[in-house]
């Protein structure tokens, strides 16, 4: 933590992070389920903000290990229902101030990734996941990796652009398993 404190003491511009935090607290307002606690960056976000998403390797390793501890891996197979997974991957609901609180959320996966070849409207911020399982198999190790990556992407790459979909409470354990199915089930269109 000492090293972290030293790192944070060197701002990237003349504007101190504290000033930005003050502006955010003053110039944003809660709306719907988007409450003000969301404004305050957590330890991971703070490091990524201060280092322009390029944290020193050692610090990244430490914080990634902390993030890995947030993932509760279910026992047994992690491959859920790929049909349900496809619907979760297609949908974009959840966590905005205009979304109904308590309603099921989606994964917004197609916003950034190519998955099933049947869907031609896909984003490119993340890598293509077409044939993800066909290329890697679907054994316990890869199941665990995919589940963990969706649950908390920051456990594998600290400043990844991918949201921590389980950690943030966006997706349930069941939903993440269904997404693992979409990626790894040999019958899933992703692997055709």
């Amino acid at each position: 933590m000492k090293r972290l404190a030293f790192l944070l003491a060197v701002p990237l511009t003349s504007l101190a992070q504290g000033d930005v935090d003050k502006v955010l607290k003053r110039d944003f307002q809660p709306r719907g389920q988007a409450t003000m606690d969301r404004i305050v960056p957590d330890a991971v976000q703070r490091v990524c903000n201060e280092t322009s998403d390029k944290p020193p390797a050692e610090l990244a390793k430490t914080l990634e290990a902390d993030q890995l501890k947030t993932i509760a891996f279910p026992s047994g197979t992690l491959i859920g229902n790929w049909q349900r997974g496809e619907r979760i991957a297609q949908g974009g609901r959840g966590l905005t101030w205009s979304d109904k609180p308590g309603a099921p959320n989606d994964g917004s996966c197609y916003n950034c990734h190519q998955l099933s070849p049947r869907e031609s409207s896909f984003g490119t911020i993340g890598p293509s996941l077409y044939r993800f399982g066909a290329a890697r198999g679907n054994g316990p190790e890869i199941q665990k990796y995919v589940y963990g990556k969706i649950y908390n992407a920051k456990a594998y790459n600290l400043c990844s652009q991918m949201p921590r979909l389980g950690y943030s409470g966006t997706l349930t354990e069941e939903q993440i398993k269904d997404l693992v199915g979409l990626l790894l089930d040999p019958a899933s269109p992703v692997n055709q």
Partner: protein
């Protein structure tokens, strides 16, 4: 206008590959720009600009948008800028709000009650923005960049642009930070790069065909933060003005050719 929405949907379903879809979308964008209803918003904006309102029952015609009271020609192209009377940096909507309060005597609460419209009816702010921005057509975008407060706004806006927070760890740069990326089929301009920011700055505010609405930059920022899963930025706040300053100053230099027409 509804017909156009169906047309865009048909285009998406007809196209078999991403490349085809992209070409179709370009064709479509060209087409909608030719039949844009932007002029109707400009006309309604002119009516509202000249309409006496508020406890003082005066119009906005004496509002000083930076070029002197009532001067509209080229005023939008010089915003955001520092205003001495208000002692702060203001974009178009923030300045209009200031005039509604100071000239027309309207309360902040009343004047900000409905800043963003819907597909039934645009907001007063949206109509006015269309009218005033149109008066800068052909004028090079050149926001204020010399006053210390303007420099401060730029630095704050830059910092906010890259600030990651919220349950999804997003900043503006999460979507607008890398060349050649898109969300679904939507191309994403890298807004901290002048060449990508210029055409954006030169065409907002704009009419959006997909929802048949006229939209302003304050709305654009607001809806980005909604999608970032963040709390709501306060309308006309220092934060939104700083972001607008950062984007506009980054994309300065192109003649204004809006209000634009977006997908």
């Amino acid at each position: 206008m509804r017909g156009l929405c169906f047309f865009i949907l048909a285009l998406f379903s007809l196209s078999s590959t991403g490349q085809d879809a992209k070409k179709e979308i370009q064709k479509y964008q060209q087409m909608i720009a030719e039949g844009s209803p932007v002029e109707l918003y400009e006309l309604e904006g002119e009516t509202l600009w000249k309409k006496p309102q508020g406890p003082n029952n005066v119009s906005l015609e004496k509002c000083d948008l930076g070029m002197g009271p009532g001067v509209l020609k080229g005023a939008y192209a010089r915003l955001p800028r520092y205003f001495k009377d208000a002692e702060r940096v203001m974009d178009l909507e923030t300045r209009l709000l200031y005039c509604m309060e100071t000239l027309q005597g309207r309360t902040h609460k009343e004047a900000t009650q409905r800043v963003f419209g819907n597909d039934d009816r645009a907001s007063e702010m949206e109509y006015l923005s269309a009218y005033i921005a149109a008066a800068s057509r052909g004028v090079k975008m050149a926001p204020g960049m010399s006053h210390p407060k303007e420099k401060e706004a730029f630095a704050l806006g830059q910092k906010l642009f890259f600030h990651r927070a919220g349950p999804w760890d997003f900043s503006c740069a999460s979507c607008h930070g890398e060349e050649g990326k898109r969300i679904r089929m939507q191309d994403l301009p890298v807004l901290f790069k002048p060449e990508a920011a210029r055409p954006v700055v030169a065409t907002w505010p704009a009419y959006r065909v997909s929802n048949s609405q006229f939209k302003t930059m304050q709305w654009r920022l607001n809806d980005c933060y909604r999608q970032m899963r963040m709390p709501e930025p306060v309308f006309a706040s220092e934060a939104t003005n700083a972001l607008n300053m950062f984007l506009t100053a980054t994309g300065k230099g192109e003649p204004y050719r809006g209000p634009g027409t977006k997908r």
